[in-house]
Amino acid sequence: MLRKLALGGIRARFRDYAVLFSGLVIASAVFYMFMALATNSAFLTANSPVSSTTIIFGFGEVLLIIITTVYIVYANTFLMSMRQRDYAMFMMLGAKSRKIAQLIFIETVSVGFLASVVGTLVGMGLTGVAGRILINMLHAPATHFSVFWGPAILATFGFFLAMFVVAAVINAIRLLKTPMLQLLHADTTPNRIRQKGWGLILEAVAAVILLGIGYVAMGQMMKIGLMAIGIALVTIVLGTYLLFNALLVALIDLLKRNHRFAARGLHTFTLSQLSFRIRDYTKILAVVAMLFALALGAITVGLGFQREIPERANELNAYDVVTIDAPASERAAATKLTGVMHAALYTQKVSGKTVYLNATEVNAHPLRLRVFEDNVAKLRQADAKTFAQLVQAGADTDMLVRPTDVGKGVVVLPAAQFAVQTGTTHIIRTYVVRDFIGNYDTIKTMATAQTKRFKVNPMMQIGQKFYYYEILNGMYSGFAFMGFFLGIAFLAMLASTLMFKILSGASYDASRYLMLQKVGVRKGLLRRSIRQEIGALFFFPGLLGVVHVLFGLKMFDSLLAHPYGNLIVPFGIFLLLYAIYYGLTVWLYETIVIQKSLATD
């Protein structure tokens, strides 16, 4: 009978349970995704040039556990709010409290167990799909990356089950202690904003100080060491929460007091909607801000590393591909290069210990050489006159000669002299393309064909950019992979958290919107109120998340040449996704809370 009641409750509110369940599934899936990397130390050490990566992931685990705990606590509150009326009714009908406690326990734990089973499976699926796509996209070796990873499965199950058992016990105790009448009317009791001026100011000041400490710690990571991450973790999480608490309460209060604003249209209603469950909101908003920062930060850093690889390869060689005595098959491959910005042909004659170039050809297409000046690779154009000077200054010419000729002197001869110079003749073709990665496959074909032709070890193909790229990619793509992978995971969790927060209130809000429609509020006005309310929930965490990322990027100063370079791309993509997601949420919410009928259509 008891089991029937418990399961019957689930069937009766299928949509709410679907929201709850899918939220928990995503949470455990993301938890699994993270753990699949974090607990795989072989993967971490093989794919990161930084020895402390395992420790950094340890801090990540702590942060994820905090976030997931808030999420589970919130989900659990939602579960209780759905069920407490029924429980109260059972009690009213004479059910013993022991039985009720048992009922709660069965229900809570089975929801948690099911969610973690499905979540782990979904997590494996996501890990597999995201992993494969990223490995292909980044040409990342990602050695030791494993979709099915035992320790991650254990960690996910262990954590979720433990959390839900604790939640079940707390649920049972709390429910049995609350008076029955209060249970029957629980969801209609508004939270009065009790906090007064100085309390808010104190909170705001504490928030700013904490955030300041966190930001400075991230900026000074070189000096403080790994502890900086620990300090930042604590201060920023706390600071974010306090800031939202103080800021939102103050802002709502301020707007409500501004009569000219509040007295128009549905403004009072919208503000009250926000302040109604402000305590829930601030916790969830803090979580959303942290997830936003993590997702955006991970993607920005991943993109930074990914961009860094061709950039550094470019510093070592100004040519994307150079062929020597290319047969027809390799020349045919070269025609497939897209966005060719520069292509040139040079004839060289090799005699004894010297390689000769023709001045007419060099003047027609100056050679592009990299010269290190003050430790910065500068691009220099070398014509017949400046060539010798640049070689003197240390310009590398290895890519312009056959592997067997490496180490021989390169000399530019005037055309007349070149014509009479004896020696074996070789044809050099140089190419510069706009997008190296876009031409990756073609360049790879050309470079490997040439390596085979000269029968050399790939790494002996000195000077060829493709091999620089491969070496750098081996070092950095692991980081890029982790960045994108975690970015996707956190983004999924961010989406699920916001969606969950908003949809979990929808069934209560539906009755309010129905009343407003009965009182004669235009649909357009209702829609605007919904857009504003949800907009606030998206805007504030987004804003703070961006600030967190801007300060957090400081931590990558030592790893990335330009941690702040080209931010517009990751930020742009991310904000676009966020905006689309906002639109989707508003649309979904409107379809739930606005009644189509009521004779207005």
């Binding site: 009569h259 249209g265 209603f269 009182v519 235009r522």
Partner: protein, 252 residues
């Protein structure tokens, strides 16, 4: 003005169920008028069609056929924003379950219809204070609905319905959830509004005592108007007794 009724219902029918399904006719051709300043009661047992009728009158539902005019405006022809605006300005409702927004204070609840019309803050507050004084809820304006008693909630709901000075006030069992003391107070207040301020009221109820406050009572049975009683010069006790007698024979 006496010649144009504030509510004019002409031959309305309401059929539930689609053409090819099993159909149920809830209203079978109802016609009546409510004159300006009149207090009309509509009585009927559960399932008689009185709630359907009220939903149609208050523009929350549409009749299958027939017309409803409020203040001369055919509301069955209104759509979209025009209908919303009409509801906001011309029609006031009081529901059995109050329908207050529990996240707004009493003051904010009452001011809401005016805020929708973008009336200035000071005029909103004046209007709220005035109606609150009339209804005796001035002291609880800054409370949330959960902090009010049933009677106070219903007064707040009445204040919200009346703050825009609508053409007509519809009541759907407004005393249904109130104790007898609160119910009596609310009815006295409504009667006062009707007699002193000329507010037109249409009250749907199955409670004979509530109905005895009306000047005229229409009895609905099986989707049709079966009988009509007038208060006339009778005392309230006499009228109450007459209603009881009518109900006794009417339901058979």
């Amino acid at each position: 003005m006496q010649n144009q009724p504030v509510v004019s219902v002409h031959e309305i029918t309401k059929t539930y169920g689609k053409a090819n399904e099993k159909q149920y006719q809830a209203l079978k051709g109802i016609t009546f008028d409510v004159q300006t300043g009149e207090f009309v009661g509509i009585m009927g047992a559960s399932g008689s069609g009185k709630t359907t009728l009220l939903n149609i009158l208050s523009t929350l539902d549409r009749p299958t056929s027939g017309t409803v005019a409020i203040n001369g405006q055919d509301v069955t022809a209104l759509k979209g924003d025009k209908l919303s605006d009409f509801r906001a300005k011309q029609v006031g409702f009081i529901f059995q379950d109050f329908n207050l927004l529990e996240n707004l204070t009493a003051r904010e609840n009452i001011a809401l219809p005016m805020a929708l019309q973008n009336v200035s803050h000071s005029r909103q507050q004046q209007a709220v204070d005035k109606i609150a004084a009339t209804l005796g809820i001035a002291a609880v304006l800054d409370h949330y609905p959960t902090e009010l008693s049933g009677g106070q909630k219903q007064r707040v709901a009445a204040a919200r319905a009346l703050v825009q000075e609508p053409a007509i006030l519809f009541g759907d069992e407004p005393t249904g959830a109130l104790d007898s003391q609160s119910a009596r107070e609310l009815l006295n207040t409504m009667q006062g509004l009707n007699q002193q301020q000329g507010v037109s009221i249409l009250l749907v109820t199955h409670d004979p005592f509530s109905a005895s406050y009306a000047q005229r009572i229409l009895f609905i049975k099986d989707g049709q108007i079966g009988q009509e009683l007038r208060h006339g010069d009778k005392t309230q006790e006499e009228f109450y007794q007459e209603i009881l007698d009518t109900l006794g024979t009417f339901q058979k």
